[in-house]
């Protein structure tokens, strides 16, 4: 994987626009101000991912959906336990003990983020992108992330990590969004941006 700094910056900007729209749509939904950090676009080995981003042994809630349209891939949300409750509360307006209800609320939240994220990127690139209904899995981060890349037949030592983090009322929501493109998609995006 070799991209110039300019290409990675352009890609980061595309993701920034997508994430910005996503943050706005959650803000509207919950009537609270949600911000998004500058996205991270890096090529990392699994080892670096586990030491610099999140340890492979952390238990997480994973919500994953397939991206369909001109550029295929997956959109993966990784939510640690504590953040999961906070997100559910944000959606439901008050704390709840009903696990099924919380799971459904967080799943719906990620659905909204996915689609506004993809809608904004699609607009920018003049293509149509949609996500399929999400699959939810509780597992170790290492198992989740490697399975997500391998489900797209990506077996390389190094992976392109495209990640967004959201904040709410100065508190980190610790929900990471990973965009996992099919092979060749990044080249296609870079090309369509004309750089």
């Amino acid at each position: 994987m070799k991209y110039t700094k300019l290409q990675l910056d352009a890609l980061k900007e595309v993701i920034n626009i997508g994430g910005g729209h996503a943050a706005t749509s959650i803000s509207k939904l919950v009537a609270k101000k949600i911000n998004m950090d500058v996205p991270e676009v890096r090529i990392l080995s699994y080892h670096e991912l586990y030491t610099e981003v999140l340890a492979d042994s952390v238990e997480v809630h994973a919500v994953i959906s397939r991206i369909i349209g001109k550029y295929g891939g997956e959109i993966l949300f990784v939510v640690p336990d504590g953040a999961f409750n906070k997100l559910a509360e944000l959606m439901l307006g008050s704390p709840h003990n009903n696990e099924a209800l919380k799971t459904s609320a967080v799943s719906e939240l990620t659905n909204i983020i996915s689609n506004s994220f993809l809608g904004a990127i699609g607009n920018l690139l003049a293509v149509q992108l949609q996500s399929t209904l999400p699959v939810i899995q509780d597992d170790y981060f290492g198992a989740v992330i490697s399975s997500a890349y391998m489900a797209l037949d990506q077996y390389d030592e190094q992976i392109m990590v495209i990640r967004n983090e959201f904040t709410y009322a100065k508190e980190r929501l610790e929900m990471s969004l990973f965009l996992i493109p099919e092979t060749g998609v990044i080249d296609g995006i870079v090309k369509s941006l004309g750089i």
């Binding site: 899995q137 597992d139 399975s147 391998m150 030592e157």
Partner: protein
């Protein structure tokens, strides 16, 4: 997918973590990480064990091979989890190492920890009871 190969008498053992069944489709990709492929990693580990104990009476335990996300981009040979299990079993059989125990398949990832003092092998799955194989 984890493979523990050991000999209790000789007090020796090795643990391998592979991700793929077969290195052959990747030979033109330059330098391969042999530890990642069932067909390369297991013979290499066994050779390492036999260098220390040539007469070792080796046995194996395996865990892993889950298929978490079923997006069916997959080949007719089954998902990569299933193919890993099959490849490890075939490689062990070619190396004439009996498979003593396994904990494979399903949808959840596993952590495998082998203890070289008592050769107990712990398998942990999220939200499940720890099992020893």
């Amino acid at each position: 997918m984890g493979t523990f190969i050991y000999d209790e008498q000789a007090k020796i053992g090795g643990l391998s973590h592979i991700m793929l069944p077969d290195s052959r489709p990747f030979v033109d990709r330059g330098l391969l990480n042999t530890a990642k492929f069932a067909d390369l990693a297991l013979p290499e580990m066994v050779a390492g064990l036999r260098r220390r104990v040539p007469e070792a009476n080796l046995k194996a335990k395996i865990a892993g091979g889950a298929n978490m996300f079923n997006f069916s981009t997959l080949s007719e040979n089954g998902d990569v989890g299933q193919r890993n299990v099959r490849a490890v079993e075939e490689t062990l059989s070619a190396l004439k190492i009996p498979l003593i125990a396994e904990h494979v398949g399903g949808k959840s990832g596993r952590t495998m920890i082998a203890d070289l003092n008592d050769f107990k092998t712990m398998v942990r799955v999220v939200n499940c009871k720890i099992v020893y194989i």
